[in-house]
Structures are given as structure tokens and as C-alpha cells.
Symmetry: C2
Subunit: 323 residues, 2 copies
């Protein structure tokens, strides 16, 4: 027998700078149908983009025979505001200004829409379907092209007074002009060191500074993936790069714990594929840098959500909060 | 006519390393009667101390004719745990180990007791009677002998998974061993620079490093108050000391805003007597260091609670949360 609750479904939409992913998701976190065919960059107007997103939604609802069962639509989008439902001046999207995403999509579909940025969506995803199930206080750090964060306190995501809280990629780790220039225009941000691109920059810097053989010397445009592959092949320099990255992440995490004393810090995103090469130095560094009061209290975990599903799941989880 | 709500009263107790302050407080934040005669340090056992605290409470209840009207007792105490009601291994108190404060006091008095540290109490006090009335997201920084903090998110104080969240005095501002040794045993904490004692240390360092006349050169054991007096008397070095302190506080606050995007940061405690000497460089520094997303959104305010009342009011505010 299918109960009423089991029949409820939600839609998750992940709007990335390159592509858009859409999925119909059930309460267990199974993706019943998905569409990953919309190329965000291909649309010159936001109206045309929303039209095609709506068409894809309609096709997915038909394919899953879920007309009338969709409880809500959750969207993860860069620079989006949970309170207003707007995307506001996103750097990575082709359309400028303030885009009334939630309003346009709910008007078209007749389904309520809730919006937040991808890191916040990831945190709600972890709480609904993932590693943070049952946790009331935790922080998700997304280690991808940039560093993002979603902070949960007392079982609720922290949006702050403006809907944009939780920009932990932009706390300052190296003060003054010795700090690396960050994409945000400031110097020394965590993101400039501990994102995938930050790791590549560290590789470049170390190769120049340290006179030591390394597999990385043969590669033209080093990526964090190359560093991982080299580390797996016992490359000393590659391991030092993760050591450096993990050490700084640990310093930052020790400060974050002093703020909200979370049960866990959950790491998410491409860089976590480095596994223990990254996790071990992070744990050592947290342990070394943390205030005695908090020693050993917060777990450092890697997200267990499947990479290919995580973005849709995170966004969809937002929709369960809708009444 | 006195309504039922107006007849409700609470008791606030502030346990400091030196003295203990107790007051009966009404819903408007008026202290109807107070006792500041208990010298915390004078008691060799916690039992004897609690006995005398209880006696003082009884006297105050009699004096205010409020038998049966006391809704709860709120206590601000160092290293105290909101969840358990215990004081745990407090450095600044004469008794060691875990002290079941809430349990002992509620058993004796028959009144429910709630406990937290003084900075958290200050934040609840600001929300109940002070500058933060009506705010749902703000951070109180207490700038006294140490630096403490109370963080409010979505209208609730942040206690974290263990009851000890909000130790913003111990985020690291200067990394590595160049950082000043902090009372917590670590290096470079905000508290080691931006507390009253931190300001005195800065004064000593600057007097040694900078070859410049200053009123401070005539003083043997410089306090933050001396620095303030000198600044008022146009002492250039004294003003540079506040400039340095405010600049670092601004850097730290910019990071805190990236975490929770609060409506306001409220400064509290002895150091705030420096007024604009401190506030101006803080505001300039926040503005310089903040991520563009948050620019101009969070107010930087000085607490308006009367110094002599603030500790009792903060503690008492905890008790209004009791049912």
C-alpha cells in the first residue's frame, strides 16, 4: 500500500553556470526521473531559460505520472536569496541584475518554489537524506571551484538578516597583501587556498618554490585532480600540497567551531575525492588549533551523497520545508 | 491596576571571580532590589557559597514582597553549561571540577534555575531589555578582561551541540608563534589583543617599539583606562593603540558577519567606554574588510545597558525563557 506521505514528491533544480539539473525526488531521496539537458549558458534571456526549465518540469511530471503529487520545487542557484526568491547579481550566470526566479517559476507551474544557494541546499540535503540526518547543529563546507558553506543551527539553516549568511569561503586566512587575491576582490580568503582552483594555485607556487622532482612538473595546466592522482602515486610534493590545504582548512574549521560548536563539519564537493590525503591533515590541524573546550567534540566527515545526485537532492530538500 | 504579567518577577545572579551580584528584576528591566555583598573568593566550598546565595535570595524576596511571584532564576557564570546547568572546570572560580549549580540552587529555593556564561547572558539581556529588542540576528561581543560573545540567530541564542558555542574571543587573528600567547594556552587569539588586558599589552609593546613622547610613559602598570584617559588628552600614541585595536576588531567582525549575517554587532563591557576612539576604527575596518555582499548591512552598536545593571539584567533575562 502506498501511503499519502509516500506519494508526496518534490522537484529539485540545480542551476549551475554551465548546466542545469532537474529531478523528481521522493521522501527517501530517490531520484525518480531527471533532466540534465539544459545548458544554462545557451540562453540569452532569463525568460527563455525559465520557459525551457518549465517544459522540462512538465515532461518529468508526465514521465513519473506525478501530476498533483508535487509538493514543491526547490532550487539551488548562485547568489540567490532565500527570503525574496530572487537571484541577485550572479557572477556565474549569463543574465545580469535581479532575477525573480521563484516568482516566475511558481506562476508558470502553479507549484510553490523555494530558492537558496547551492551550499545551503547541500546542507539541507545532508540533513534530509544524508550524513546529517538527525543532527541539529552542523556545517557543510563545499570544496569545489569555490568554497561555500551551509550552516545549520538548532535544526534550521542560517540565512541571517539578508538571506545570504554562511559565506565561510570568504573568511580571511592570510591577512594583508601577502594573502592571495580572491575572486571576490579581497585578499587571503579561505577560498583562494582551499578550493579546487586554490589547490592548483598552491601546486604552481610550490613547484616554483621547492626544488624537488614531482610528477606534477610534466603537466601544463595543473588541476586539483592531477594533484590527487600524483598523491596516489606517492608524489611527495603532491602530498605536501594536500598537507598545506588540509592544515589551513583545519585552522579555519577550528574558528568555525568556536562560533557554533557544531556536532559535525561535513565536507562536500570535488576536492573531497582526495579522501584521506585531505582529511588526515584537516583532522590533525583542527586538533592542534582548537580551543580546549571544544576538543574532540565535532566530527569531521565527508559527505556520502552520490556526486551525480547531490545537487538535485540538495535543491529538492528545500521543497520539503514548504507547506 | 497591576496585571498578572506585571506581577511576574525574575532573579538575576552574576557570578564573577571576585564578587557575586544578585537582583530582583521586573519585566521592564527595572532592578527592584539588589545584593552585591557576596565575595565569591571568600568561600572555600561551593556548598557554603550556595548557602549564602540562597540566603541573599530569601532576603531580597522578603524585601520586595515577591514571595510566589518569582518566575525563575537566571545565572551568568563562567564556563557554565546551559544544557546541564553545571559550571565545568572554571578557571576564575575558587572551586574545581563540575559544579551542579542549577540543580543545587533550584532544590534549595524551589524556583527553576537556568544557567549560561556571562557573554550569552549579556546577549539575552540586550534582546530582552536593551539595544537588540526586536532583533532576531545579532552578536554581542563583550570587551572586558577577556573577550566573550553571545550569538543570537533566528531569535535564539546559539548554544551548539555542547552548550558552549560562541567563543569568539578565541578565533585566531595572528597565525603562528608571532601571535600573542593567550590565557587559553594558544597563540594569536582575538582576546589576547582586543580585551582590556590586550589593550594594555598593545600599549606596552608600542611604547617599546615607537620612539615618541606619550603620557603613558609616566605610568607604571598601564590599564586600558589609562589609554582612554591619554587618548582624551590628545595623546597620539594612545589613539594609535585604539586604532590598532579597532582595526583588528573590525577584521574579526567582518569574518563573523560572513558567518551569520547579523543585523547588528553590539559591543559591551569596559572597553566600550573608549567610545568613538574605538568605534570609529572598528567601523572603518569592517567596511574595508567585509565581503561586498554584506557591505553596509550590519550595524555596529555600543550597548546602552547601564554598566552597574548589565550583569544582573543579562542573567535575569535567562529566567524569562523558563516556563
Amino acid at each position: 500500500m502506498v501511503t499519502e506521505i509516500e506519494k508526496n514528491l518534490v522537484i529539485g533544480i540545480d542551476i549551475g553556470g554551465t548546466g542545469t539539473k532537474i529531478g523528481v525526488v521522493d521522501a527517501r531521496g530517490d531520484i525518480l526521473a531527471r533532466d540534465e539537458g539544459i545548458a544554462t549558458r545557451a540562453y540569452s534571456t532569463f525568460d527563455a531559460y525559465i520557459d525551457d526549465v518549465y517544459k522540462a518540469i512538465t515532461r518529468l511530471i508526465t514521465a513519473t505520472d506525478s501530476e498533483g503529487l508535487i509538493r514543491g520545487i526547490g532550487v539551488g542557484a548562485p547568489d540567490s536569496n532565500y527570503y525574496t526568491g530572487n537571484i541577485e547579481h550572479a557572477f556565474n550566470l549569463p543574465w545580469k541584475g535581479v532575477l525573480p526566479l521563484a516568482q516566475m517559476l511558481s506562476k508558470k507551474s502553479g507549484i510553490p518554489v523555494r530558492v537558496t544557494n547551492d551550499a545551503n541546499a547541500a546542507a539541507i540535503g545532508e540533513m534530509t537524506y544524508g550524513t546529517a540526518k538527525g543532527m541539529k547543529d552542523f556545517i557543510v563546507l563545499t570544496l569545489g571551484t569555490g568554497v561555500g558553506s551551509g550552516i545549520v543551527i538548532n535544526g534550521h539553516l542560517v540565512y541571517g538578516c539578508d538571506g545570504f549568511a554562511g559565506e565561510l569561503g570568504h573568511v580571511t586566512m592570510v591577512r594583508g597583501k601577502e594573502g592571495r587575491l580572491c575572486g571576490c576582490g579581497r585578499y587571503g580568503c579561505l577560498e583562494a587556498y582551499c578550493s579546487a582552483t586554490g589547490v592548483a594555485r598552491t601546486a604552481m607556487e610550490m613547484l616554483e618554490k621547492i626544488n624537488e622532482p614531482s610528477l606534477l612538473r610534466n603537466i601544463k595546466e595543473i588541476t586539483s585532480r592531477d594533484v590527487y592522482e600524483a598523491a596516489r602515486n606517492n608524489d611527495k610534493l603532491a602530498r605536501e600540497i594536500f598537507e598545506f590545504t588540509g592544515n589551513m582548512l583545519g585552522e579555519a574549521i577550528a574558528d568555525f567551531i568556536a562560533f557554533s560548536s557544531p556536532e559535525a563539519i561535513i565536507l562536500f564537493g570535488g576536492l573531497t575525492r582526495a579522501g584521506e590525503y585531505l582529511l588526515s591533515p584537516i583532522k590533525r590541524s583542527v586538533d592542534k588549533n582548537i580551543l580546549h573546550t571544544f576538543k574532540g567534540k565535532s566530527k569531521i566527515l565527508i559527505s556520502q551523497l552520490k556526486d551525480s545526485d547531490a545537487a538535485i537532492l540538495g535543491a529538492s530538500a528545500l521543497a520539503w520545508e514548504l507547506n
